[in-house]
């Protein structure tokens, strides 16, 4: 397997891991194994979706994000709140209170990601008019989806919308504005995203679609939340918000697709559902679709593991808080998309293939099928792999042995017992 120097937000706390197989079973790219009683993440396969964090009963899987002290590293800081943040508060009617509280927390400026989302929606609408694009266009805002397509669905790479996500666009625009206004250099300004998931943390460290992200740090919504709650009681509302319903709608599933203003769209959320949609798209089972919005988390970004509120409650709150917002406040000044389009294309990462050499891969596949036919097909996970097929695959990849299967082991013990029995019968009897 190729060993890339991957950064991953999703990591394991060795101390807390009990070696159960909850995460192993749930991982959509089969990236986790239990070895020596502890879970291990195969980093080349991990897409940072956070499913393992969600299911781990021992809280051994966690997301790395930046500490609040990251703000001290810069002379001037800009908060980039994700739309999902607006769905975390009870009885909130005014988004301006959150934004004012962020300033009170120490940020010099706030640039709403929802504002950038409206620009991205406009850019998407313009992109959709191009005659040479592959339809349906698949949204690129969820970094876990991009990483999933990159390792599992290479056929669909041409369908991916090659436009930067709102987080990235917000960071770039906000920094440019701040540089012009303050005269500070880019290094002195910190653009800090306040986000819902580990996939976004990874996206800020290792950008897909460009060389380097303009986002300098990511704080988790759940870390910022307790500070905001206190501060929101102390601030008075000021006219800070510059986003409309369309941009804020991106915070939950269906929001992005609705903002494209196309009738023939589909919005799917939850990692199993998006895999099934991607499989169907790959087989061309859907006809006449123009746009496909995919979110790895159930409910969309409000379902990210770094939120506070239940995704479905957050969705209701998000709807509530945007009631009095205008429909949309931001549009592109012209038809030039160059500031929005990716600088680098998405490339297939064949981390799931058995061997780069087809003939060797064929031999490994035969061996894998032979091994699998001898396993019991219970997919119990006791060997540390998610299924019998995955164990057979691990054996041909050289990272496991067949006797990791406890049922195989039982057979061997049985054979051994029979042998002993036979041997005992042949032993001369003691005189009676």
């Amino acid at each position: 397997m190729e060993s890339h120097a991957y950064f991953h937000s999703v990591t394991l706390d060795q101390e807390k891991c009990r070696g159960c197989i909850n995460c192993v079973k749930r991982c959509p790219t089969e990236a986790i194994r239990v070895r020596g009683g502890k879970a291990e993440i195969i980093t080349a396969r991990c897409i940072d979706c956070g499913e393992c964090i969600r299911v781990c009963p021992h809280h051994a899987k966690k997301a790395i994000f930046d500490p609040m002290s990251i703000m001290e590293r810069f002379q001037y800081t800009i908060a980039l709140p994700a739309p999902a943040l607006y769905g975390q508060f009870n009885n909130l009617d005014d988004i301006n209170l959150i934004l004012a509280a962020l300033l009170k927390m120490g940020f010099n400026q706030v640039y709403e990601v929802a504002r950038a989302a409206e620009l991205v929606s406009d850019a998407t609408r313009k992109y959709m008019l191009r005659p040479d694009i592959v339809k349906p266009v698949i949204s690129s805002a969820c970094p876990a989806v991009l990483r999933l397509v990159r390792v599992r669905f290479p056929e669909l790479i041409p369908n991916i919308l090659p436009i930067h996500a709102p987080m990235e666009v917000a960071a770039r625009l906000a920094k440019r504005e701040a540089m012009a206004r303050t005269g500070l250099s880019e290094e002195q300004i910190g653009a800090i995203f306040i986000g819902p998931c580990p996939a976004k943390v990874t996206a800020a460290k290792m950008l897909i679609g460009g060389e380097k992200s303009a986002v300098d740090g990511v704080l988790a919504i759940q870390e910022v939340y307790p500070h905001l709650i206190g501060l929101m009681k102390k601030v008075t509302s000021a006219d800070l918000s510059q986003a409309g319903r369309m941009g804020i709608g991106w915070g939950s599933s269906g929001g992005e697709a609705a903002a494209v203003l196309q009738e023939k769209y589909l919005a799917a959320d939850g990692v199993e559902n998006i895999i099934s949609v991607l499989e169907n798209l790959e087989d061309e089972k859907f006809y006449g679709l123009d746009f496909v919005e995919l979110n790895a988390c159930s409910g969309g970004c409000v379902g990210g593991v770094l939120n506070v509120e239940n995704p479905y409650i957050a969705k209701v709150k998000l709807k509530h808080v945007r009631r009095y917002c205008p429909v949309s406040c931001n549009r592109l000044p012209n038809d030039d998309l160059s500031n929005y389009l990716w600088e680098k294309p998405l490339e297939y990462e064949p981390v799931l293939e058995l061997d780069p050499d087809f003939r060797v891969a064929m031999e490994k596949m035969k061996e894998m099928r032979r091994i699998q036919s001898h396993l019991y097909g219970l997919d119990c996970g006791s060997c540390g792999a998610p299924s019998c097929r995955a164990l057979a695959e691990d054996v041909v990849r050289g990272i496991a042995t067949e006797d990791a299967c406890i049922f195989k082991l039982r057979d061997q013990v049985e054979e051994l017992a029979k042998g002993l029995n036979l041997l005992a019968q042949h032993m001369p009897k003691a005189s009676e």
């Binding site: 087989d283 799931l352 087809f358 003939r359 099928r369």
Partner: protein, 142 residues
Amino acid sequence: MSDTIQLNFTVPGDDFTRAGEASSEVKGILKKLGLSPMVVRKVAIAMYEGEINMAIHGGGGEITVEISDQWVQMVLADQGPGIPNVELAMQEGWSTAPDSVRNLGFGAGMGLPNMKKYSDEMSIDSQVGVGTTVTMRVYLNL
């Protein structure tokens, strides 16, 4: 390399929801073999259409997939009613699917034309009252 990988599948004749399982499994195997996305896609679509045909018209049947270092071959055999006029069946939009099937979104008359389009070679051997065997090949172009 001398021999091939052979895969056998049974397609049920009465359950649409299961049609596509075989092509999905083949797709996974081809990806693991590192074949190009284009080849995988061609095989997956051609085979899926074939599976649907077997479920709708053929009353189910058997699929044998063989992978060599030159091609992927799919043989789809059913003991259904057979195709009286193969030429007509090959025309886009020609369909004999009943309304119950069309209501499910199938039966648009694109099955055989799509199989022809996505495979590099296709032959149909059909006898009325006996059954239909479709053989398709997609070349790997390694």
